[in-house]
């Protein structure tokens, strides 16, 4: 993802933060850089009816949290559980980030997986 596209998503992602009515939530922190994401999931009949987040983090962690949360809405829990670190970027349909920023990009996936476990 080029910088211009990333910055557009980043701004949208910052503005999209909210707390929804939820029955699953989890906070994941990246202690080496201070990033912190809180995921809220509203699950009904094993389907993610709604999802949201609050985040303090870099543009990558914020943007990829937004992309993931938007993508999992309406999906079955068992299908979301199948998303791995390896399949993450394909699932979102975007190019992988550089190796140094992988941890930033994956923070929301880790939070979602914990929230579902």
């Amino acid at each position: 993802m080029n910088l211009d596209k990333l910055l557009i998503i980043h701004k949208k992602a910052l503005a999209s933060q909210k707390v929804i009515k939820h029955n699953k939530t989890h906070i994941t922190k990246n202690l080496s850089c201070g990033d912190e994401v809180k995921i809220y999931l509203n699950i009904q009949d094993d389907v993610i009816k709604d999802a949201s987040y609050q985040i303090t983090g870099c543009s990558i962690s914020t943007s990829f949290t937004y992309l993931l949360v938007e993508k999992i809405k309406g999906l079955r829990v068992e299908d979301v559980k199948k998303i791995t670190k390896e399949s993450f970027f394909d699932f979102l349909g975007v190019e992988p980030v550089s190796s140094g920023r992988i941890k930033c990009a994956l923070i929301a996936l880790i939070a979602v997986r914990y929230a579902l476990s």
């Binding site: 202690l31 850089c33 201070g34």
Partner: protein, 398 residues
Amino acid sequence: MNYQNDFPLIKNRGITYFDSGATTLKPQSVIDAVVNFYTHHTANIHRGIHILSEEATELYEESKEKVANFLNTKPENVIYVKNATEGLNFASAMIDFSKGDKVLTSVTEHHSNLLPWLLLKKQGVIVDFVDIDENGKLNMDELVEKAKGAKVMAFSHASNVIGTINPVSEISKIAREVGAISVIDAAQSVPHLPVNFSKLDVDFLAFSGHKMLAPSGTGGLLVKEGFTKTCTPPIAGGGTIEDVTLTDIKWASGAEKFEGGTPNIEGAIGLGAAVDYLQKIGMKNVRRHELELLNRFYSNIQDLPLTTYGPKPNERTGLVTFTLKSRLDGKMDIHAHDIADFLNARKIAVRSGKHCAHPLHYRLNIPASTRASFHVYNTTDEVDALFLALKEVVEAFS
């Protein structure tokens, strides 16, 4: 002076390298010294009678003489280790601790000068901390007060985050007055300032070679006269003894007692070459050059929504650590990784994160920071380029 031609990576990659606090680039003379050892002198030291072993031993010992001369001590008081981290761990292991002993250190320390002491807590050792003032300088009144009853006083000579140059002579004097052993993490001072081990009058001083233009896996623990006789080596093995029977050990004298196994011979030879290179420039000139870069940086930043941490240039080493705000609302910090990534796209290498100093970042109440650290190969033009790139970062994130 412009030293860039001495560093082949700059020409080969065209990168502006501001990450010398993590590790430095290597001059051609250091690279040549390592290659020369491999191509002409490869052998183990202190063991063989053959000519290659004799040559390798001479080169290794010559390196130690250079380092000892560089830092003003005797070669037998220089224990070669793989880096400052290992040196500080050695120091903590060479001191006999009992339950209730106190180690005094500070909130600014790199994890290398923090974790070895925190590990001692399970033996009942108490670890206490000196805070810093609003300029990032140690609270000396607090230090004097807390020094009472300390067994060890372990401080960095210069902070790897805020650059503060600590008053090590004063700290060692206070340590002597209270009967404490002084341990100094000099990883960020030896590469940048004139350091005189004997004059500082400390008991242990650790430095890393790779931060002073030498190969990775090199460094030293300097010990005060006498400590090599009384201390037990943290590791033992080939080369550390004069004789051993199944019931008795007669340790080797001097630093050899602490250098178990085949050392990093080629690295040590490269370290000697790095010392030659720095001495040719002169450490006062290295310091002068870095001060010029620091002053250039500080004269540029007035127009940026940038916060730097630590004292003024003449009280710090050649590094600047900062946070940068977006102009969007004037409140949000642009994340350090975003800054580093953006600069990387402009072929400028800086460090981002917590720089192995988590407690200091918690103390400063910032999640992460960006660090630009200088050495002789940096120029004022590069500092100007950094400033312009930072302006672009602010615009991009606004």
